[in-house]
Symmetry: C2
Subunit: 206 residues, 2 copies
């Protein structure tokens, strides 16, 4: 099976810049999708794509930083490489604080851009990998009944069946049944594995 070529989304309102950057990226083997505005990008991009976003800071209407906020609020994990023509430190700092992958100045050096893109795509790859694992775990959690979920939370804190039964106002055997179903549904064979799984998706202790 062929690994799909990562896609670099380029958003810049100035056509010559779009063309120039697209050419460089394409020559380096990346799939490129260019947009003249943030709105256009939002309307057409597929958030599930492996890749990154090369984004101009200053644009009419929605600017780069605003698009970054919108994407973040939408749960996007697409790494963003900003491009700017002006030397605005506060903007660069804000972008980086908000998780930008990089922030480059125009005119951008081809090698710098490509390096930043490669780093960003690697980040995206690893974040997506983690997300995949996480959603797999969440899917299993979703199959638990409310009571099973409750028992799970006691189990991963190390409570004994006896104690759990006491806290839930039931008897040990009931807990055992729930517990067995939890292990089955979460597809683990030991408490240790169960704790590892639940730790990853932030299931707190009781």
């Amino acid at each position: 099976m062929t690994t799909p070529s990562p896609t670099v989304f380029v958003v810049d309102d100035y056509a010559p810049v779009r063309r120039s950057i697209s050419r460089v990226l394409h020559a380096a083997g990346f799939a490129v999708a260019a947009f003249a505005s943030a709105e256009e990008f939002l309307a057409q991009c597929d958030p599930r794509t492996l890749g990154c976003l090369v984004l101009d800071v200053a644009m009419p209407a929605l600017n780069g930083l605003e698009l970054q906020d919108i994407l973040a609020k939408a749960g996007s994990v697409l790494p963003i490489i900003f491009l700017t023509g002006t030397a605005d430190i506060p903007k660069s700092v804000q972008a980086m604080k908000h998780g930008a992958s990089d922030f480059l100045t125009k005119p951008v050096n081809d090698e710098d851009l490509l390096a930043a893109v490669r780093v960003a795509i690697e980040k995206n790859r690893s974040v997506r990998q983690q997300q995949t694992e996480l959603s797999e775990i969440r899917a299993r959690l979703a199959t638990l009944t409310p009571r099973e979920r409750e028992v799970l939370e006691y189990v991963v804190t190390g409570k004994l069946n006896k104690q759990i039964a006491g806290d839930l106002g039931t008897v040990e055997q009931t807990v055992k049944v729930h517990r067995a179903r939890v292990m089955q549904k979460m597809r683990v064979r030991s408490v240790a594995e169960l704790v590892r799984l639940t730790q990853r998706c932030g299931i707190s202790a009781r």
Copy 2:
């Protein structure tokens, strides 16, 4: 008991800036320690202090970014707020990538500075808190004998005593003894707790 007042280290080669910033910080209730150079700061600062560092980017000899690297390599977790008089985007981006808490431009607004300092100190507080917990766990780990440590690693992956014994070429009873000592030394009463502890200091699965 009184909470010790957090200390803000100020490093700037220009005395008027040092004085002005120190005054603002002092008026806001922070303890302030000012230095005219990175070297001076390195020689005199106590890395265990709760606080943060307000650091000028451009200085003769060691500049701010170089000091950041030195501190990072030395394992410092003191948050850094950079101050710069020049609009150098790449430097601000580098600083932020390397974990700077903030990056402000001169002349700096008093409120901006104080806000950044407060955020930085809160970061420091929480990082230090985590470090304290971590070193406590490591201290316990250090009391384990090599064999106990080995058994620990099997236990937290969910292996049965029988399996552990097989892998270690010994018998179940031996494993039980080691296991009991591990639980005792790590001060936990369940496998779940043990997994939680070891997860925090990156003990990998077998």
